[in-house]
Symmetry: C2
Subunit: 270 residues, 2 copies
């Protein structure tokens, strides 16, 4: 498969578009995959969303997101797990193979305790994932996002977590923005062989305009995208390559311009 046959639009990249518009954009620009966000799917309902994606001839690379496991009470933790179960069911309806897990921030200063709750949450979901033939992709997020998004912030830790479960059910997502800085990156990508469920790209422009909404177009930053891409390929990953850019400035631009540019950047920089 060529790079462009593997290209996926993570729909947060065109945040102003609804799912129909994003699907239409993918068709216009011959982007064969789409990574969906649940809140965008809910605007149309999962069944209608599944139909409009299928009718357009697109495939779903991932569903974002389940997770957010740590919480102060057992009831709240259960409700987070239940919500992740719904994400699994929706992913099955949408014909996706993977639900991305953003594991959640801590609720107090006890990071070790929060990390245990993440492991317990994933364990609770594995039977549901297996019965729906959906894989859970643990996405380590950049350490600067720990307090807002995820106590799981290195690929080493994601690999350790995934290894507690069968490879048929649990793996990891490699997003360059989150892991590029890590001195253990290439060791951990190699270790993730057989468990890599997704590859997300964007870039890190310096200075970074915003912690959450400051990701750059691939090629506009300092990440060695090609080296990471090759490492992921060497680890056996042949799946979709999702362009996932959370950036308020890029969101202001016309979606068609963004899709056109991202296609060119993938060819140029991977």
């Amino acid at each position: 498969m060529s790079l462009l046959d593997r290209l996926s639009l993570n729909q947060i990249t065109t945040q102003r578009w609804d799912l129909q518009q994003a699907v239409d954009g993918c068709v216009r620009h011959e982007v064969p995959w789409i990574g969906v966000w649940r809140e965008k799917v809910h605007e149309f309902g999962a069944e209608h969303s599944a139909r409009l994606i299928r009718d357009a001839g697109l495939k779903v690379s991932s569903v974002c997101r389940g997770g957010f496991f740590p919480a102060a009470t057992a009831a709240e933790r259960k409700s987070r797990i239940d919500e992740s179960r719904r994400a699994i069911e929706e992913a099955a309806l949408l014909g996706a193979s993977t639900v991305v897990l953003v594991c959640g921030p801590p609720f107090d200063k006890d990071l070790a305790g929060a990390r245990t709750m993440v492991a317990e949450g994933i364990a609770a979901l594995v039977p549901d994932a297996a019965s729906h033939k959906i894989k859970l992709g643990i996405e380590p997020l950049h350490p600067m996002m720990l307090g807002q998004r995820s106590v799981i912030c290195t690929l080493a830790e994601a690999n350790d977590l995934a290894a507690q479960f069968p490879a048929e059910n649990v793996g990891v997502i490699v997003d360059v923005f989150h892991v590029w800085w890590d001195p253990a990156l290439y060791t951990e990508i190699a270790r993730a062989a057989g468990r890599i469920l997704g590859f997300h790209i964007s870039d890190w422009a310096e200075p970074l305009p915003d912690i959450i909404y400051g990701r750059a177009m691939p090629g506009d930053g300092i990440i060695d995208l090609r080296r990471i891409h090759h490492a992921v390929a060497d680890a056996g990953y042949r799946g979709p390559i999702e362009v996932e850019i959370l950036n308020t400035a890029i969101w202001e631009r016309p979606g068609d311009e963004v899709l056109s540019e991202m296609k060119g950047r993938v060819v140029e920089h991977l």
Copy 2:
């Protein structure tokens, strides 16, 4: 020694004060140690600075900073090493035992190459450090600062680097703001036993107001300061505890108010 006998004002915390004002502030608030920044020392000259610190009865906990090793040309790399040599000479004049190394950002996308240049730069400095009886403290910086400050961004990597040199000459600095997120933190603090040359505290308020200038007063964030403090103590560290806060809002406040507050926070949160 009690906590307050170990307290050090890293003078960037009172950024608007010059060295004389910071020394006077430490005397007024009975803070026995000061961590100095070279640009502040240069305003008075190293010899005069040494005299005014000594005459006030203060001790220098560290000199910030040497490093910034990676550069595109051999000539530029040599000039960075030469500058770090001057930092060592100034530290000796000031009666400090440690120069903090902020290792420097990469100059292109090759992080591995930049990391090799860091190791080479430290190797070049070790004889100078040894002859001046100054220790080099490798400070891993938060991964979000990689592109602006340091390719060395985990304590594991700092420990690996330090281990290449004698413990009499090279160790590590543990700054809670930079390392608190790390799942390997407590393992690596234990591994650093005998090599910990400094302990810096501040806090991580969420949301973080700024990547470089957004650190919080100890106790105003989500870092488990006490647990890290105990781990550092368990690893045998008994040296100064530097309060190092880079925060433009705190810099606006009267220095005496900041010193008074930081003393209380250290007692309350460590």
